[in-house]
Each structure stands twice: as C-alpha cells, then as structure tokens.
Symmetry: C2
Subunit: 446 residues, 2 copies
C-alpha cells in the first residue's frame, strides 16, 4: 500500500459514507472534538475493546477489571495533582476574551478571532471539564469529568487487592470514557475531547520496575502486530528526560506512521499509545500502600495506556488498500479502482455477508435461512441489491472477511461459494457444514 | 427463595465484599449516586451488555448499533425539549440555599439541613449536568452530559437509514452512559446519577405503532425471562393517562418486585425497564422525516429502554439463594448457612474455577495447565487456598457455574471432577475433553 497524502481524506470519506464515524449532531453544526460512531464503527470499537480485554484481562491470571464512575469525588483530582497541574498555558484576547495557545498567535500577534492584538499574560487553564453535582450550583458542588481512567484504579487499589486476593505483581484494567477540554482537537478522531481509554495499571515491586516496563512495551506492541498493524508502521520512541511527565521515570511512546502531521515529532510519526513507569507517585499521592510477606512498601506502577478511537483510526488506515480492477470485475473496460479494507478478522465489523445471486423466491428462501443461522454466531449482512461484483465491492470496502454466494446450483448440490476477502479464493462448501466452516475460519487466529 | 426484608442488605454486603460494586472514591467519602464496579461487577455488566447486544442487534436483521458522544451540540437538548422541560420542581431554603423536593419538607416545613422554615417558592431545576466546552467558560460554551442516549439516535436517524440502507420498520440500538442530576439518588444502584442505558429506538409506520408496541413489550420481558429472572417477580404496568410523559401515546413499565420500597407504586413493585410509544414527537422536534415507496411520512418510535445497573441489581437479587448446609459440607456440625448465586451461565462473571486438591507440585502443574487452557475461552479463576468446601462456597457465592477439581486420582486416570453449581451433580471428565465439555455446557443456552 502506498501511503498517499490523501489517505486520511479517503478514510474520513469512507468512514462517513459507510457508517463508521460521523461528526456528532452534524445537523446542528457538530461540536468540535466530539464524534458519533455509526453501525460499523460501534462494531469496530466493540471488537477492539473485546480483543484488548481478552488479551490483557481474560487470558491473564494477574489482571482483573474495573468499571468506575466518570464523575467521582473531586478530592481524587486534588490529590492526583490534576486540579493544580493539568493545564494548558493560554493567552486571552483583551477585547473578545477568547483564549489561544501562545504559539497560535505568535506569528501575527493578532487575535485569530477579532483581529486585535492586545493580550493578557499567559495563564493556566485547566483541561478538565467541570460540572456541578447536586441541586446547588456552587463551588462546593463542583465535580469533574475524569481526564483519565487511571486515577479511579489507584483509589480502588487496596480494596481490589483485598477482595480479589491479589499479590504484587498484579494489574487492574479499565476501559471507559475520559474527557479533556483540548484547545485544539483535530486530525479526525486522532485527538478528540471525548474519548475512550483502555488502561492497565500494573503494580510491581519497586526493585523490579525496569524489567516489567520492558515487558509491557513488548506486550503492547505485540497486541497491535497480532491484530494486523504492519511492522514498518510502528516504532518505539523513548522519551528524553525533558519530555517526561514529572511523575514518570521512563516512558515509551509506541508511535504509528500517521498519514498526516500532528505538529509534533518526526513527520507523521506520533503517539499511538504509551507505556509509562509512573513510579510510586500516584499511590503515594492517595496515601496507599501494600504489604506482603516481603514487608510493607508502595508499589511502582507500570501503565500501558491506549485510546480506543486512536487505535481504531490506526487499524483503519493500516488496513486500507486500493486495487486497480481484477478483484470483482474481469472485463478490461470495468477495471475501476477497488477498495479493500484488510482488517483483521477479529476486528472486522461484519464477519459474513450472504449474497443470493437472484431475488427469486426459492433462492431467496435458501439464502435467508442460511443468513438466519449465521447471524446467531456472527454479525452478518444480507445483500441482494445490484450486481454480484458491486456487492463484493461493498463488502471489500468495509472489510468483511467472508462472502457467501448462493446460486442456482446451490439448489441442487446444497453447496455455496465462500469467498475469502484477502486470498480471493473461492471455496465450495456444503450448506450443512457452513456454520462449522465459518466458525473455524473466524476463530482460528487469536 | 424467601424475599426477606434484609435481602437488599445481603446483596449490598456481598457486592462489596466480593468485588461487584463499591461506592466511588469511598476513601474520600464517596459521591452520592456514583458507584464503581469492581472485578466481578465489570464482568457482570459486560455480560449483560453482550447478551443485550446479541439479542437486539446481532440476531436481528432490522436493527443496527450506534455509539454516540456523551457531550453533543446543545441544540439537540433545546430541540428535544430537555433544556426547557427536563426538570424537578424544588423549593430553596432562604437561609442555607439548599434545595429540596416539596414533599421532603412538607411534614415539618423546616429545612432538613439548617432547621429554618422559610422557603422560596418552588422553581424548576434542570436535571441535566452542565459543563463548558472550549477555552471560555461562558453561556455560549455551555454543553450538557446527555440525560438519555435516545436523542443521539434520533439526530442520526436519516444518516443511518441512508448509510445502512434500512427501511421502516427498523431500529437503532445504543449502549452508553447517561447522567441525571437526581435530587434523591438511592437504593444502592437502583437510582444513580451516572448510569448506563441500553436503548432501542424502533421506527415504524404510524399505522402499525400499536402492533409493534405490543411486540416490543413481549420481547423485552422474554429477554429477562430467558436470562433467568423469575416470572413471579416481573409484571407489566400500563401507565394511566395521567402518568404518561407528554410525548407518549402509551407506556408499559416492566416492573420488578424489589425487596425495598421505592416510594412510588405498589410496595416493592417498581420499574425495571420501560417500553414507550413516543409517537413522532422526537423526529418532528428535530425536523426529520422518511420516504419510501409508500410515500413521505414521519415514523413513530417504539422505545424499549433498559438500565444496565438496574438490570444487574435485579439479576443479583433474583439469583440470590441461601441453603442451610448440605452443599459443601456433610458433617452435621458444619451445616452453616451457604449462599448460592444462581446467575444465568451467560451472566456469571466467572465461568469456571479450577481447584487443585493439593498444592503439591505435580498436582499443581496439572491444574495450572488446565487453567491456562480454559481461560483462553472463559473468564476463569484458580483457587488453591483453604479447604475444598470453603472454596466451593466462595465460588457458589459469586455464581460460578462450574468448579473443576483436580485430585490425586487425576494424575492416574487423566480425569477431573466437574461440579455443576445448580444441580450439584459431579461428573468425571477426561482432561483432554474438558474444553469441549465446558464449551458445550456454557454455550448451550442462548
């Protein structure tokens, strides 16, 4: 696949046209940094979350899950340092009172909104969304939408260690929404104000932190590779001392080669996810500790932190391919550009499409019965509109791994044709064995 | 099961002790109406959501999913009527400015907080949580946390009908967080301020609304029954004219027989979920319509609306059972009260527990290998601490359907004992066939 400059535009267009991702409330002008995930998008997100949970919770004896509240007691954010420190430095226009990052006005030194050029000195503006809990709108009722899921994990550390009878090293994983009032959201769903995190806080003996840090960098990269991200589009970036967050001893950004510039770093290379050694900063901040046969200590935390939307974007970009004809059409004159989304089978929103070659009643009946059976096991589609070539293209474009064609011969030999999206191979499979066949094909990996 | 008065206390205690549900940030005094779901709780919630999605999206050709933003353009809430009308009438104390529902002060007419008795006249206070998007905290940047997922579905109605090529009747389903600044949250997770909804908006031709309304009432009740809720604890309550929301033509509350009084209705009977015929109110409010070969019209909406937390509470309460001895102990003196959670297999947080009879190396090795293999397919537990009777009790109490005991005979005959939580039957199963056996047992229903 060539990484054309317009790859991002193609994905944005495909995402909208086929129901992956829409701007939220577009009818009312949208809202910057907020997106709705449509019928295919929600399946993709669910699949990503399921694979993450399977790998990092279900298959591990040392990790358990958590689903904590988005709005919690604000003392959590005071102790964690977010109320004091989670801020962007902004300058405010003296005339229109709009606020900007210093670098966004420094060229012209004129307000991008009203054109004047007198600014208040730069001040910190907190990135947390504020709200009020209870019937009184007052400073005493202020609460925040969490800017990360991690803190809720720390606060539950002692309770979970006890109720789940866990001993260090062990981890607590969480998937859930987080909110950051970013001044400049952008690049489609790369940086949004509302997003879903998949975070693992792994608690280790401080003597073993380096070993576990390396371990988790490897494991997280492996997860992306196993789910089909191309090796050449991933790299490790170890943060230099001056890049590190104040609480971190070490951080590796797993970077993806995005087809756009994020303004930071090396051309398109920018953070896909990060692994941080957060030391004992957070547990100490909340006054938590741990005791086992080796004594009492405050564990160090190794944190692999993923974003669902950003991961989804990487999976979509990485899976995108264009072929000049030959897949669904054979005549020379029809050799149009064909789009194939080579999504990993586990991530594909729709697993199987049933395509009857005709709408005639007897054929439709057989195809319908097959579809009814298949969709009990897999998210499936039924499509009997337009030519078979066009229908293949529709499924290729959204990454459906298997198309099942029911033709007139099927009425006699009780077999159907199963087409593999990637190999293009077509196999004739007895209908009675189709469920078993698909089950085997779709579950063979991971 | 007797529905004792203290059933609720038992569930609250079990939920906390075993890691189902904790008050959020309890260390800092919690926050009223917000809860954290622990390691077992998140699995229970995930299972409920998965079963709902499977039944109402995956298995249906007429329903697709959506995952929209929690914070959206506020115009949505203006058009829907929420900014104007989604409010509680409250009176405010002239002295301490705290606010209350009229009925909470009418007995004494004294402020419950400061004891004074002079109040401002009752006024409307909106139940939506307010926040500010963007760098300026001003009226122009106000946005709201959605109080329901339904409106995001309506706003996407035309786009989804088009991209998914759907024709009325069809539905759009969504699972996601919603927030209501309830004045009096309570009864554990029955009424919370942050909660997760599972909503289906089913769009029908206005001529067919009554038929579809009845259909969806039946389907939703069937879902609860199929997942094990006892028939005698469910009933339909058809709302009378004066109970109906202004937009609704008809509403049926599916009520559960809760072991507490909700203050409304008939003793413990109160809403578990609801099905409403919302007519064309919402689509009209957003100026949306629909066209097919029968002409242009505004569809009616039939809405089955579930809460994940409230459903989880019903499943837990309904599954709770106490047995006086005889399950895990045989000697008379040991016949203590034993707790069994008869959760449906699909909902049980942990599907299989592997229990080696001894910690001796050779036995532990066999048990560990089994456990490694099992947890690739199912969330599983490994427990080698305490007597086998106590370990059975631990698993019974959290509803684990199958316990696999590895004993010394296993080393010879390569078989293990599988104990069924409900029937108490013990079956000797060859280790080589265990995965297949469990897979069959755990997937046979639903």
């Amino acid at each position: 696949m060539s990484r054309e400059n317009d790859l991002m535009e193609k994905i944005v267009s495909l995402a909208k046209r086929r129901g992956f991702i829409f701007p939220t409330a577009e009818k009312y002008g949208g809202l910057g940094g907020f997106w709705d995930w449509g019928p295919l998008g929600v399946e993709l997100k669910n699949n990503i979350k399921r694979e993450w949970w399977k790998r990092f919770v279900q298959e591990r004896r040392d990790v358990v899950g958590l689903d904590s509240a988005i709005v919690t007691n604000p003392e959590v954010w005071k102790k964690s340092g977010h109320i004091g420190g989670f801020a962007d430095k902004l300058v405010e226009c003296k005339y229109c009172h709009h606020r900007f990052k210093q670098e966004d006005i420094k060229e012209s030194n004129q307000c991008p909104d009203c054109g004047k050029s007198v600014f208040e000195p730069a001040r910190d503006f907190n990135l947390m969304f504020k709200t009020f809990v209870g019937p009184v709108e007052a400073s005493t009722s202020v609460a925040y939408l969490r800017p990360e899921t991690a803190q809720n994990i720390y606060v539950n550390f002692e309770t979970i260690a006890q109720t789940s009878r866990l001993k260090v090293p062990f981890g607590i994983a969480q998937i859930g929404k987080a909110f950051r009032n970013e001044i400049t959201p952008g690049n489609f769903v790369f940086r949004t104000r509302e997003f879903e995190q998949m975070e693992l806080e792994y608690f280790v003996n401080p003597k073993e932190d380096d070993r576990w840090f390396s371990y988790w960098v490897k494991e997280t990269i492996k997860w992306f590779l196993d789910l089909g991200i191309k090796k050449e589009n991933l790299r490790e970036h170890e943060q230099a001392k001056d890049e590190l967050a104040h609480y971190a001893k070490a951080t590796v950004d797993v970077e993806y080669n995005w087809p756009f510039s994020t303004g930071a770093g090396d051309k398109g290379w920018a953070e896909l996810m990060g692994v941080a050694n957060r030391t004992d900063f957070d547990l100490k901040a909340h006054g938590l500790k741990y005791k086992d046969e080796s004594g009492e200590f405050v564990p160090y935390v190794i944190e692999p932190s993923f974003g669902v939307e950003r991961s989804a974007l990487a999976f979509l970009l990485d899976a995108y391919d264009e072929v000049k004809g030959g897949r669904t059409t054979t005549t020379e004159s029809n050799k149009e550009k064909e789009v194939v989304l080579h999504l990993h089978k586990s991530l594909a929103p729709i697993k199987v499409a049933v395509l009857p070659l005709s709408k005639k009643t007897d054929l439709a009946k057989v195809a319908n019965d097959l579809y009814e059976a298949i969709r009990k096991n897999f998210i499936s589609a039924y499509d009997d509109v337009a030519s078979i070539g066009r229908r293949y293209r529709r499924q290729d474009e959204i990454g459906t791994p298997y198309c099942v064609t029911v033709d007139f011969e099927s009425l006699n030999d009780k077999k159907v044709t199963v087409r593999d999206r990637d190999t293009m191979e077509q196999e004739r499979v007895p209908m009675a064995e189709l469920s078993k066949y698909l089950n085997h094909k779709l579950n063979e990996i991971l």
